[in-house]
Point group: C2
Chain length 237, copies 2
DNA sequence: CCGGCAATTTGCGTTAGCGCAAAACTCGGC
DNA sequence: GCCGAGTTTTGCGCTAACGCAAATTGCCGG
């Protein structure tokens, strides 16, 4: 619940072009809270009482069908917003947000949004950009799911995670939060079994090193090549 | 190039809450143009010179991979905006827009957007809502592609098209623009062969009636049931 | 009215990846 | 240091859907 230093968030896309005074006014309306690993920040279907900015940790946004199948919509990294339901005209959260690591978030009550946007129109245009970017990413994932085989999709998913939340090592890049085979399966539209087989294969070729909820890309470039190469012996769909 | 009557567009979500005077000012900056069937309004990768509002006809937005595979991102119906690249921070179109019927569009030069938004902040919030809605739809499609079989996905796709652009008939609903098996395949992540087989099956059961680039849902309710039913004998992914 | 092209249909062999099952491993907690 | 739950690995059979090929149909333009 401590006050947040404006200088800590001034560089974020959401707040591009804001003065420190304006930021303070905006931040005054927010409450920060901690969420221990594996706890839900909000649940799909729940009333959208707040929208959020992730300060520390990592949050998984997942969508569930009535019959219980899930997909991981995205992983939220520090500095990113999530739970923007009301900004896009929803009254309930369309997905469940779960902290995959001990996390700290900043939460604004839904009711503050119209007021803030009215006073600071740049909030709307900035948010429009980030939502637009997410829409692009979503289309790209759809394209991959339609046209690529599982191995390529997994490669792309890992490269994206490495880019977003990779920790550089002496030799390789480590995904900087706990992620299971099941999670990757739900990001790529396959099963944990298939992901496990693929990673085992890569591991024996020295491309990755992995363990329980932990993945290190040892040969990012080779994985990149894998991701790009279309399944030979096939033609365009 | 004729002037557009504000009252014709006042009811659109994009212009919610605008007065006739404001609308006239906004419309003054736009040019209308005709696009014959099968001509491109803009091409993926091209410089985003304009953004658009569809007045008449239907436009298909499709994304292509470097290797030539395509997916249909969406069909644009009259009253909807498209080509919003710049609003979301892109300088080039991320997809190709093709008129599938003789179409009339309203086009604003990209440069007008910042000015319009600055003067009419509601444009940004309205656009944020529509982009947000599209993001939801995109996530829903991803969920379907991950968890459902082809037949269910095709059923969902047709129901969506019927809802958006369906013409009510005495007995059934007709998709009100030319659409091929190939198009449906590219909406659902499958092949035209599989779509053809599925539609043939449905036709022999009297669920649909279809021909060259033409589909009529004769039993929308039964198709709805088909769409919802999970492949039995299976379990959650 | 006819020719030709594009869309559609359908058959058939192939296979990537699923689904199920069981074993092995890891780690946190007691 | 041991126990137990959750995660990962791996084997095996199966099938939904693809990929290829060929025939058929419907439509537009001349």
């Amino acid at each position: 619940m401590a006050k947040v230093d404006p200088s800590l968030v001034a560089h974020l896309p959401l707040f591009a072009g804001f003065t420190n005074e304006e930021l303070e006014e905006i931040l005054r309306e927010a409450r920060s809270s901690r969420h221990p690993k594996n706890s839900a920040v909000f649940v799909q279907g729940e009333d959208a009482h707040s929208f959020f900015l992730l300060l520390h940790g990592h949050v998984r946004a997942a969508k569930t069908t009535p019959t219980g199948e899930q997909i991981v919509v995205r992983y939220v990294a520090p500095g990113e917003t999530f739970g923007l339901a009301m900004a896009i005209g929803l009254t309930q959260y369309p997905a469940t947000a779960t902290a995959v690591d001990d996390s700290v978030v900043l939460a604004w009550p839904t009711g503050a949004w119209p007021r803030l946007v009215q006073k600071f129109p740049a909030l709307a245009t900035n948010t429009l950009q980030t939502v637009g970017t997410r829409l692009q990413e979503s289309h790209t994932r759809m394209l991959e799911m339609s046209t690529q085989q599982v191995e390529q999709r997994v490669a792309h998913a890992l490269l994206r995670l490495a880019k977003q939340s990779g920790k550089k090592l002496d030799h390789g890049i480590e995904i900087d939060f706990p992620i299971s085979r099941q999670d990757i399966a739900q990001m790529t539209g396959t099963t944990l079994h298939t992901v496990s087989r693929i990673l085992s294969g890569w591991e024996s070729q020295g491309l990755v090193e992995s363990g329980r909820q932990r993945i290190i890309l040892r040969e990012p470039h080779k994985i990149f090549v894998l991701a790009e190469q279309s399944a030979d012996s096939g033609s365009a769909r």
